[in-house]
């Protein structure tokens, strides 16, 4: 137990340095590109004069030397202030917290769907390897895996949104509907189907293939043969001996994906007008909203590190032979 706490402590200390590195590096990198947020605003306005640009730079603090801007920013970070969005005129933390739940809802649903369906299909295919069910699952998984997400999304929209008219094609809820409680939840669920399916199908294919391959590998190991020789029921062998031991790569991949996905899926959030953090980051890049972008990087880094740590801890649950800190 002490080893586990020590391991977590070590990882947290390392995480602080990683995050500081991310902040400084990104702070400087983003300023290397020509142009700044004041010029972007001037460009979009289609009219500007020197006072307009100078006033904006002063307002954004961009009239200060870069090193001083960095010191001010770091000072803010240490006191828990992620700064203010040039563009959206709102505190960064508020903006991120407004969008993060939507992204977690979308990616969480997609990931849950992908893991449950993907692992089930993978296990089914592995158990009946060489059968028609295996062939269908393997072929479908390959097809979905190879299909570009934007195209898959568009096809789903055309089928369910336009041809059949069953599902809305964009947004997170029906505006001005007056829905509350369960009606609101159902409305959000209807809007969630297409984006989460588009995002989840790709990962489902990955998990199906991963589970199948991993289970086939484990099935050949000695302890499985021993289990069967002891006369254990085939279902128990499959679930407790093979599937459980085959899950390690799935857990690894899911941990990596979860960390990556909390940063939002720019593509899916854009195609389906889903108000998540991926789109927020993309828009921040386009308009050079330095503070917002850095804020998203910081939050995303923290979440990636947290998910990696969680994955390591999950290893010990899935396979008790693994000890943390060793």
């Amino acid at each position: 137990m002490g080893g586990r706490l020590g391991f977590i402590g070590q990882r947290l200390v390392k995480a602080v340095f990683v995050i500081l590195g991310i902040i400084v590096l990104n702070f400087l990198l983003i300023r290397l590109a020509p142009g700044d947020p004041a010029l972007v605003l001037a460009g979009e306005a289609g009219a500007a004069d020197p006072k307009f640009v100078d006033d904006l730079r002063r307002e954004f603090g961009l009239d200060q030397p870069v090193w001083r801007q960095l010191m001010i920013y770091m000072g803010g970070i240490l006191s828990g202030d992620l700064g203010f969005s040039y563009r959206q005129k709102a505190p960064i933390l508020d903006l991120i917290l407004q969008r993060l739940p939507q992204t977690i809802l979308l990616t969480g649903t997609a990931l849950a769907f992908a893991i449950v369906v993907g692992v089930s299909l993978g296990a089914m295919a592995a158990r009946r390897v060489g059968s028609w069910a295996d062939s269908i699952i393997t072929t479908l998984a390959l097809l979905v895996y190879a299909m570009p997400q934007f195209w898959l999304g568009l096809m789903l929209v055309l089928l369910f949104g336009v041809q059949l008219g069953w599902l809305p094609t964009f947004g997170m809820n029906t505006i001005n509907s007056g829905f509350t409680g369960i009606d609101h939840a159902l409305d959000v669920a209807r809007h969630l189907v297409l984006p989460s399916l588009t995002l989840g199908l790709f990962f489902m294919a990955v998990y199906a293939r991963l589970t199948r391959a991993s289970m086939l590998e484990v099935a050949d190991l000695d302890f499985v043969r021993t289990g069967r020789a002891k006369g254990l029921a085939e279902g128990r062998v499959q679930r407790r001996y093979i599937l459980r031991n085959a899950l390690l790569p799935v857990v690894t991949y899911a941990g990596l994906q979860a960390g990556y996905l909390v940063g939002g899926s720019i593509l899916i959030e854009t195609v389906f007008a889903w108000p998540g953090i991926g789109r927020l980051a993309f828009e921040a890049v386009l308009v050079r909203d330095y503070n917002l972008l850095l804020g998203i990087f910081i939050i995303a880094s923290v979440l990636v590190i947290a998910f990696n740590l969680l994955t390591d801890i999950l290893y010990t649950v899935v396979d008790p032979r693994i000890e943390l800190g060793t």
Binding site: G35, E44, A47, K89, A90, G161, F170, N176, V271, A273
Partner: protein, 529 residues
């Protein structure tokens, strides 16, 4: 002459009262109720029109804030917050009589003090175009509670074109006076005099406006509200219009290639009106500071080498007109007869390049140039690819350069380019949006949308200076005609297209697009069919 015409015009406006400019056909039976859902893309940074005039801001804030005047499709000024106006015979004094009984959305009365505050204090501080306009005023005063007098330092005939909602939005004095305008906490909940009040902004999703029940025009607005949905993907926007999930798409919401298909749908109506106040022209901007760009024959050769009809037909799918000169045909003082024409003529282009001594070298290349692509959407990339191919036919080898928006503005402003695509709005009168590109006093490094080419012609400077001071429109026209002749001879930029934008409206609604400000307008006459 001009002042007399304007006085007569204002008298007519007085007689017509608040209904001036309202389509007669629609006056009969409007249905009250309904919410119009429109596309919003991209999401605006804020909704305070005095502080930000970007296209998406204008769309939403144009329902919240108002100007003193509106303009019909022919750019004739119409009453809005100002119910009448007069211009003194010497062209120096503009007197506006305001509507009485107008209230801000928070219930405070709108008076002449608000107009004086907006035009003399707020806008000159934060609004570049308004600053240029109101710097021309010697004084802006309230003659009484509902009368405002603008005294100009020198005659400026286009002064009446400065009062578009986005050009000079009226801002509430009681909220902003004595504060830091940009940091005012009320910026999050904009307060205007318009027919719709701000209700909710869910970032990344939608903005909701609701009917202003205290609106000053009796019985208006008809709609219960207007909702703007943020839809970042072009294909999703087209589908949203097609499936009736949104009722209105405007500007660049729908890709040009999708417009003909959508326009054929039974529930949609297409119009290209409603952008006369901006009337932008797209062009190739040319840095005159280096060879071969400093030689006008090179620029003329480019004009001849590009098929502008092809661009309109195949890149903008018929939306727009080939541009032939500096003043848009929708802008005041355009003179088709004064313009030197450059028909699509590859032979003529080659002759001009030959005269310059630019003979074909290896691979038939006469000159290698760099061209920045506009970073505002795919249609500009397609145009750039066509121009690259077109110029290659006369031996000009183009290397296209891509930048993001910040980088592009920086390079244009810093004159760090050879050639670049651009488009610039004209704001109804040459003095408002055309002169700034060509006059030498506007060569200002670091500032976009100025004379970034470095074009200098003293006669052009003189004409652009004198024309707006003429109170006789015939004299102004003569000067602007001469400017158009000179500029089309000099070709400071390679004009490409007079841009038009599609407005797709669900036929469930009527009277949505009724003036030169189109979808940016108030929608106080819009109603269910």
């Amino acid at each position: 002459m001009a002042s007399r015409r304007q006085v007569l015009g204002s008298a007519a406006a007085l007689l017509a009262g608040g209904t001036m400019g309202m389509p007669r056909l629609a006056r009969a039976q409007q249905k009250r109720g309904g919410v119009l859902t429109a596309i919003l893309n991209p999401e605006p940074p804020l909704l305070v029109l005095g502080l930000n005039q970007q296209a998406p801001t204008q769309l939403v804030a144009g329902k919240i804030y108002q100007g003193l005047l509106r303009y019909d499709f022919a750019l004739k000024p119409l009453p809005s917050l100002a119910k009448s106006w007069t211009v003194s015979p010497d062209g120096l004094t503009y007197t506006f009589r305001l509507e009485e009984g107008v209230k801000w959305h928070d219930g405070a009365p709108f008076t002449a003090d608000d107009v004086v505050f907006s035009c003399a204090k707020f806008l000159p501080e934060v609004h570049p175009r308004a600053r240029a306009t109101f710097e021309r005023c010697e004084s802006i005063t309230a003659a009484d509670k509902f009368t405002v007098v603008f005294k100009l330092k020198a005659p400026f005939e286009p002064f009446l074109y400065a009062f578009l909602p986005a050009g000079a939005p009226m801002m509430p004095k009681h909220i902003y006076d004595g504060t830091d305008y940009r940091a005012n906490p009320k910026n999050a909940t904009p307060i205007g005099t318009g027919p719709f009040k701000f209700r909710e902004w869910v970032k990344g999703s939608h903005i909701t406006l609701v009917r202003n029940d205290e609106y000053w025009k009796p019985g208006r607005p008809f709609l219960d509200g207007v909702t703007y949905r943020v839809i970042p993907d072009a294909a999703a926007r087209a589908l949203a219009v097609e499936t009736g999930q949104v009722d209105l798409a405007q500007g660049n919401d729908v890709e040009a290639f999708d417009v003909p298909r959508l326009a054929k749908l039974a529930h949609l109506e297409l119009s290209t009106k409603g952008y006369e106040t901006v009337a932008p022209i797209s062009w190739i901007e040319i840095n005159h500071r280096t060879a071969p760009f400093s030689d006008k024959r090179f620029r003329q050769a480019m004009m001849h080498a590009i098929d502008r009809d092809f661009i309109v037909k195949n890149i903008f799918f018929g939306l727009g007109r080939p541009a032939s000169g500096p003043i848009n045909t929708a802008t005041r003082f355009h003179d088709a007869k004064a313009i030197k024409r450059y028909p699509y003529d590859l032979k003529r282009a080659e002759v001009l390049l030959d005269e310059m001594g630019l003979r074909p070298g290896a691979g038939g290349v006469r000159a290698r140039i760099k061209m920045m692509v506009l970073p505002y959407g795919e249609v500009w990339v397609r145009q750039a690819e066509y121009v690259k191919q077109a110029l290659r036919r006369v031996g000009i080898d183009v290397t296209l350069e891509s930048n993001d928006a910040g980088g592009w503005v920086k390079r244009i402003g810093d004159w760090d380019y050879e050639t670049s695509f651009d488009f610039v709005s004209q704001f109804m009168d040459p003095a408002m949006g055309v002169a700034r590109t060509y006059i030498s006093s506007n060569i200002r490094k670091g500032v976009p949308f100025t004379n970034t080419m470095g074009y200098v012609n003293p006669r052009v400077d003189e004409l652009f200076d004198k024309a707006p001071k003429q109170t006789d429109p015939a004299k102004a026209q003569a000067m602007y005609s001469e400017v158009q002749a000179i500029l089309t001879e000099d070709v400071p930029v390679v004009w490409l297209t007079e841009l038009e934008f599609p407005v797709l409206i669900n036929k469930r609604f009527r009277n949505v697009n009724i003036d030169a400000n189109g979808p940016n307008s108030e929608f106080d006459e819009a109603h269910l069919a």
